[in-house]
Subunit: 81 residues, 2 copies
């Protein structure tokens, strides 16, 4: 079973990496096209799990304990297979 976890900064939290990327895209000639850039992490996990429910529970646990900093980040979990 596979889990895809997307971790992104919460709305309102300054996204330095996104700002820098936005600036770089502006200077590369995409100024007219790009309005905003935000950058997050995508974590892809291969799991040993007997059910989707168990997989989701385990991955939620991992997010709370390690994968996301829930003070400033939100996460979404997608279970495949």
């Amino acid at each position: 079973m596979k889990a895809i976890v997307n971790v992104a900064l919460k709305q309102g939290v300054l996204d330095d990496q996104g700002k820098a990327t936005h600036h770089a895209l502006d200077t590369l000639g995409f100024k007219e096209v790009v309005k905003d850039v935000r950058i997050g992490k995508q974590i892809i996990l291969e799991l040993n799990a007997t059910s989707q429910t168990q997989a989701r529970e385990e991955v939620t646990n991992m997010c709370e304990k390690l994968l996301a900093n829930t003070v400033i980040e939100d996460y979404t979990i997608e279970i495949i297979g």
Copy 2:
């Protein structure tokens, strides 16, 4: 219009960050559950574009020029709205 770009290391390229995260999850008690971890970037772009086709073209251009290192990374583009 919105674009979601996922950038991940190609198969076969050593994923240090993934390896470290895997190890950390093992020590946190998820040894039985986690088989593999890979970590990539998710870039969310707000765009001024007149069509999905134009948006995809522009974002492909951005990926080739800045967002991905195509020697070691693959990217996927999803256009929304």
